[in-house]
């Protein structure tokens, strides 16, 4: 499922990468950014945690024109006179203003690095409301956020993930630079799908899914073998050949009338009697009290 999310074919979603101190999700975040840039989409990044150079490291030169980095790393709380971007500007109006400044043809992708930083300084209900407005409105196509699950109380993480359409939880894998990604995805129809994969990220920020799933959901393969075809290995023939089928359809059934007689019988004319029945109050007898004499 991770490659599909990287493709980003369906817009209008809110994707959360949930990481912890054991394994940082920023590499995966940068893979998402580079995949979006390769798809020729405009990407807006709200960078609170790392500087611009560190985030852009490894991204190809030409594609970075479409990457708009809003520097909130330098002065996020507005202590100096003219900060480039502060955390208080995380509202729908200010963000829309920001997007309109850079002219683009289609809605962009918003990457938030990181949501945890914003949640430390703004109240969670306010952040949830803004994220919901971003998700619903047409200003952005997709919102991707990085969330550090060990920085918040469980309720905060749960509330934000409740809003998301996809949640990828990354944790360290077995060997080397491999990591495990557990993805939960909520489709528009209400269906929820889950998947687990082992992946690794190369130098050029492409994601490689290695074989071998971390934990198989269960012996589902055994059930398929038991359903055999019962029409095989019989001493009599259950199926029809083509000739036999034709002969069957040609057979004249009893009580088959001509078409005129059928229509005459089916649609009774205006002269024939018709029974008009309207159920009365007296017919509506109580199942539990048919004689109508119990005192309930």
């Amino acid at each position: 499922m991770l490659p599909e999310l990287l493709q980003g074919s369906e817009g209008g979603g809110f994707l959360i990468i949930k990481d912890s101190t054991c394994y940082s999700g920023r590499h995966l975040l940068r893979s998402f950014i580079s995949a979006a840039l390769k798809r020729e989409e405009a990407v807006h990044v709200l960078g609170f945690e790392v500087s611009e150079e560190e985030l852009k490291h490894g991204l190809k030169g030409s594609a970075t024109e479409r990457l708009h980095f809003h520097n909130a790393y330098v002065d996020p709380l507005g202590w100096t006179d003219c900060p480039p971007f502060t955390v208080n500007q995380f509202t729908l109006k200010d963000l829309e203003h920001l997007f309109n400044q850079t002219s683009q043809s289609k809605p962009a992708i918003l990457v938030i690095d990181s949501l945890s930083w914003i949640m430390r300084h703004l109240s969670p209900p306010f952040v949830c409301r803004t994220l919901q407005q971003l998700k619903k409105g047409g200003a952005v196509r997709t919102v991707i956020g990085l969330l550090h699950s060990d920085m918040h109380q469980q309720g905060v993480v749960g509330s934000v993930c409740h809003l998301a359409t996809s949640v990828i939880t990354v944790s360290p894998g077995g060997r080397g630079d491999e990591a495990v990604a557990k993805t939960t995805r909520r489709l528009k129809s209400g269906k929820v799908t889950q998947d687990g994969e082992i992946f690794s990220i190369k130098e050029d920020l492409s994601v490689i899914i290695t074989q071998g799933k971390p934990s198989l959901p269960g012996p589902k393969g055994a059930e398929a073998e038991e359903l055999e075809d019962p029409t095989v290995n019989l001493t009599f023939n259950l199926l029809l050949s083509d000739q036999e089928r034709e002969a069957k359809e040609k057979l004249a059934l009893p009580f088959v009338f001509s078409k005129e007689k059928k229509t005459a019988l089916l649609h009774s004319g205006p002269g024939s009697g018709r029974i008009l029945y309207e159920p009365d109050a007296a017919d509506d007898y109580d199942q539990e009290d048919p004689d109508d004499d119990l005192d309930v």
């Binding site: 969670p124 209900p125 919901q132 939960t184 059934l253 649609h267 309207e278 509506d284």
Partner: protein, 407 residues
Amino acid sequence: MAAPMSSVGKHSGDRPANTTSFQKKTRSKLISIAGTRPSVQNGQLLISTGVTSLDYVLGGGLAVGTVLLIEEDRYDSYSRMILKYFLAEGVVCRHELFVAAAQDHPNDILQELPDPILDDIAFPKPMEQHRPSFEPQDNLDAMQIAWRYQNLPKVQSALASSSRFGHYYDVSKTMEPEIRLTAKCHRFYAPEHHTKSSPTHSPMLESYSALLKSLQDVIQREGFDVAAPMSNSRNILRIGLHSLGSALWGDDLCCRDNPTQRHALTNFLYGLRALLRSSLSVAVVTLPSHLIQNTALMDSITRLCDNAIALESFKGSERETNPLYKDYHGLLHVRQVPHLNCLSSQLPDHKDLAFKLKRKQFTIERLHLPPDLSERVSRVSRGELAGAAMAGSGCGSGSSGNKHLDF
């Protein structure tokens, strides 16, 4: 032959010409409204939730004037389904609806209502007034052997179905817009009512107080108040509140262990229940209880609602692959049953219930272990037994015991 007329409460306008003027003596003072029936236990007026097995679990139905709290499952799939069943039942019984939500617009919820199955519900369709006498000719070839039954509707029921209690719905189809528009719906979308007013120290959040005010307006305006002058046609208001208490309502109940306004939701529920007790309405509230960390607060929320059930779906947990649960989609816990006007309540017989959402029915059954027909019964490992014992602790069947007695 005397044909008695309908009693007070039913539409008295359409009196057929050949009935007499004998009036049936009403044997009770209950208002008779379409889609309701008196309870056999305590005479309360009950309505159906839309799910017949849930009606059975709740003791016949939901009493008018009470609140049903549904604790949501993790991904809010089944609780939303029950809310939609509740609203669809309201449309079929011609009740009025009030839908409030903060996440999706109420119109989105209303468009997803499941389709009722019965054919001959008398909905005012402007086109088809008469029997299908002018059917196209190719329909004659539809049935070769049983052609006399071609023109009959596919599903037949005995009497006029809108007087039945509890209907069945097909989840794979959505309700036709014509049917849905026959019911009057009031909507409340929380982001539209969000105003940047000055934070006066009120015990309730502004979104909750706006919702309560809106409910009060609707009840008084449309005449659902019990104190309103008694007219012939009374109706029930069905209130569906989706995902109350989540962060999108402005409440940080789900976010923190010690919320800043811990009594916001409880005050709202108190006000809601007071409003319902004095009007002909029923409310179904869904709450994302899996996000609430404070168990004391969750308990007080449960106490403030009359009926409370919790849904626990197997999706995403390790129970999904447990062979015990393979027939079901989740467990249903009954947290509270009301005792209205009586000292003790009707407790459900079985405490271990599991639910399953099929296409045409939402079934709630008693969870029982499947019969163990394998040959290697005596050699079941301890690990599996431990899992079974933990899950089926209320089951009562003895197969989770030791298997050493094997004759």
